[in-house]
């Protein structure tokens, strides 16, 4: 997709208004889906220009008679072009949900289509596969499940050589997987995991991206942690995925995005993150983070934030594993550059995708939690002030500061004096109990390790700032403790 997109110019025949309208519709559909807890995302594999051209044809809904006609022609036509043409017409019709319904209810239709899919005519095969692909877009489970007889063949073709065809099969499989548990229940014993593990060795980027898509849909299934992820982890897929995430000249953004998300879903399932760590996930992701920061500074291709998101999440989650500490996981990332890279990314996200800032800060939190050296990096790179600027974004900033302060007097000395006090006094003015609570903890640490802090606090009417929270249930104890410490040291 990425390689294609770069080369293609979007046709100017689509009005800007039309594009906006379509985008609005899609966004509405997304929000609706999210509300219904179904974050499914089907690939819309349609050429935009083609869609424009076919607008007239798509409006037509085919009835039984017409569908039968097309099928008969495809199967028994004498001219090959004729047979292909019949399937092309059928495919266009199948873009319409009503035609899809009629098709699946027609006796023998799927059987015929599968017959054409496995025929000895290569181009008919391709067109039949495209028809199946249209069906796979359906949101009706009946239509999707009607495609069940084709799955063994789709899997078989994954070990072929025609990259376009394989790509099509993969996207079709991905769509089918999303929509129906019955399909997944069939695909697993049919050997989808070994098939994907073999296919991931393909050198074709388009195939890899499609594979990433199909795999990511499989990994998001609700039954994935019990039924799917264990066999994925038992295969060679994770090693290949990590290889495809290695920074370097061979790194392809589109492919990396897909597999970074796949990794994210696997990690979230918590089935066996220790295994991923032994396979080098932490170091690969760390290097990728550095690479991303570099790319961002070179103001390269759009879409880097799409890779940043899963990388941040994967790293953050892996750092919470006991195994990370056990193998000296922090050692693998024990690189001041990681903190610098993260801040470069935070800067970038501030411009491009502010919604990802909390995630970046969350990674910073997990980095600093157990590692004095990352805390040192933060201090020596003079990043406290930039960090304070992000206070309005997320109160994870406060947790990070607590992580630093908690490391001891020497660290608190470096935090003080500075803009920290005024920032904290500001946060005490908030009504959000979480923010205030975290601020109180930070102050407590500062008072403990940095004697001058309490005095400065008092001088700046800190007590008054505390008073307004005296009656708040969750904060009472901490407020009183802090008042005591401030007054009596």
């Amino acid at each position: 997709m990425w390689s294609r997109q770069r080369g293609r110019l979007k046709p100017l025949c689509c009005g800007v208004e039309e594009l906006r309208c379509r985008r609005r519709e899609r966004e509405a559909a997304l929000r609706k889906a999210r509300r219904e807890q179904q974050l499914v995302s089907k690939r819309l594999l349609r050429d935009e220009a083609l869609e424009e051209a076919e607008e007239g044809c798509v409006a037509m809904i085919f009835g039984e008679a017409e569908i039968q006609q097309f099928l008969r022609l495809a199967q028994r036509g004498t001219e090959e072009k004729e047979r292909e043409g019949a399937l092309v017409s059928l495919r266009r019709g199948l873009q319409h949900p009503e035609t899809q319904q009629t098709f699946i209810r027609l006796e023998g239709s799927i059987r015929t289509l599968v017959g054409l899919l496995t025929s000895n005519q290569a181009l008919l095969q391709l067109e039949a596969a495209r028809c199946l692909h249209e069906l796979s877009h359906s949101e009706q489970s009946a239509v999707v499940e009607a495609c069940l007889p084709a799955t063994s063949y789709l899997l078989t073709y994954l070990s072929g050589h025609s990259s376009d065809f394989i790509e099509l099969c993969l996207y079709t499989l991905g769509n089918l997987i999303v929509e129906s548990e019955a399909v997944r229940r069939q695909l697993l014993p049919q050997g989808i995991v070994p098939a994907l593990a073999a296919c991931i060795q393909s050198p074709h980027l388009t195939v890899l991206e499609a594979l990433g898509y199909a795999l990511s849909q499989l990994l998001q299934a609700k039954e994935a942690p019990e039924k799917i992820i264990p066999s994925v982890l038992g295969s060679t897929l994770p090693q290949h995925m990590l290889q495809l995430l290695q920074p370097g000249p061979k790194l392809n953004l589109g492919v990396a995005v897909e597999f970074a998300w796949c990794l994210h879903y696997i990690i979230c399932s918590q089935v066996n993150n220790a295994l991923l760590i032994t396979q080098g996930a932490l170091s690969t992701l760390g290097l990728l983070l550095l690479d991303l920061a570099g790319a961002v500074q070179r103001t390269e291709d759009a879409g880097l934030e799409l890779l940043a998101c899963p990388v941040l999440r994967c790293l953050s989650n892996l750092l919470t594993e006991a195994a990370a500490e056990a193998v000296g996981g922090q050692l693998q990332l024990r690189d001041e550059r990681v903190v610098a890279a993260l801040f470069i990314l935070l800067q970038f996200l501030l411009q491009k995708q502010p919604s990802l800032l909390p995630e970046g800060l969350w990674l910073l939190n997990n980095l600093t939690a157990n590692s004095p050296s990352f805390c040192t990096s933060l201090l020596s790179l003079d990043l406290i002030e930039p960090l304070l600027h992000l206070l309005s974004v997320s109160n994870v900033v406060l947790t990070v500061l607590c992580n630093v302060a908690e490391k001891g007097p020497a660290y608190c000395q470096r935090l003080w004096p500075g803009p920290l006090l005024s920032s904290l006094l500001d946060t005490l003015a908030f009504s959000d109990t979480e923010v205030v609570g975290q601020s109180l903890e930070l102050l407590q640490l500062l008072f403990l390790y940095q004697p001058g802090a309490a005095q400065a606090f008092l001088q700046q009417s800190g007590l008054q700032a505390l008073q307004r929270h005296e009656e708040v249930a969750q904060l009472q104890d901490r407020v009183h403790a802090l008042q005591q410490t401030a007054l009596h040291g």
């Binding site: 349609r46 050429d47 083609l50 017959g115 939190n365 157990n370 403990l448």
Partner: protein, 245 residues
């Protein structure tokens, strides 16, 4: 520790609750909804993707050319079409019987089971029929047992096209092509259950094989050949000649 700063003991204040360090829980679910921004970046990206995969792409046309493989008469005007044709029909072709297969794996299995006499010998004594699903190491005594395994264990269709039992090489009926094309509408619609993927589609296909296995190679054996059942076979009456068919 290689830091210059000594690590001090943890804060022991009784009033400060355990500090939440690991914020995994709200973020661990794959269905993560950002609190502020309504769009998950990735799904927006996917919706925006408009590739050429599903529709027939605008392919650059070249002057017509013919497939160069001997015996193939297909003509093309686009390189991608030719590529798919080549991979489908000429890439994994059995050099013995010219059948084409979708993958190297299936081709290898075919050659082993259909054209390797050593395989036949070994198959009499041990389980030689390998399961077709990649990753499954089960082997079976007969091709029928394997098919049953494919159906029961791997949920494959019973009429999976790439697992046809070894057929007789019976004489090709002259009208076979018409037979295939003139199937009655009420039929199950699958074009000839014949062998998977003959190389060039215009050629006639052998008639559909009945279910189950046949003994291989029941050709008409010329009556002048005898297989040790007595030498006096030379010129027999019509009645007896039929026996050797």
């Amino acid at each position: 520790m290689d830091t210059a700063f000594a690590i001090s003991p943890p804060v022991t204040s009784s009033t400060s609750p355990a500090r939440l360090i690991f914020l995994m829980l709200p973020w661990a679910s794959p269905y993560w909804s950002p609190p502020t921004d309504p769009q998950t970046p990735r799904h927006l990206y996917l919706q925006d993707v408009l590739t050429q995969v599903g529709g027939a792409p605008e392919r650059p046309r070249v002057p017509e050319f013919t497939c160069q493989v001997a015996g193939c008469c297909q003509v093309f005007d686009a390189l991608e079409d030719y590529e798919h044709h080549y991979h489908t029909l000429h890439r994994n072709v059995c050099s013995f019987c010219k059948r084409a297969f979708p993958s190297g794996h299936l081709l290898d299995t075919h050659i082993l089971e259909w054209h390797d006499s050593l395989f036949q010998i070994l198959a009499e004594r041990q389980d030689m029929y390998q399961c077709l699903v990649e990753g499954c190491t089960e082997k079976f005594r007969t091709s029928r047992d394997r098919k049953e395994h494919l159906v029961m264990r791997h949920l494959y269709p019973a009429d999976f096209r790439f697992d046809k039992p070894r057929k007789s090489r019976g004489p090709v009926m002259p009208g076979a092509a018409e037979q295939v094309l003139a199937e009655a509408p009420g039929d199950d619609g699958v074009p000839s259950e014949g062998d998977a993927m003959e190389v060039c589609s215009e050629h006639v296909e052998p008639p559909p094989a009945p279910a189950g296995e046949r003994r291989a190679y029941s050709h008409r054996i010329p009556s002048t050949i005898c297989f040790g059942q007595g030498a006096s076979r030379g010129f027999k009456r019509a009645k007896k000649r039929n026996k050797h068919q």
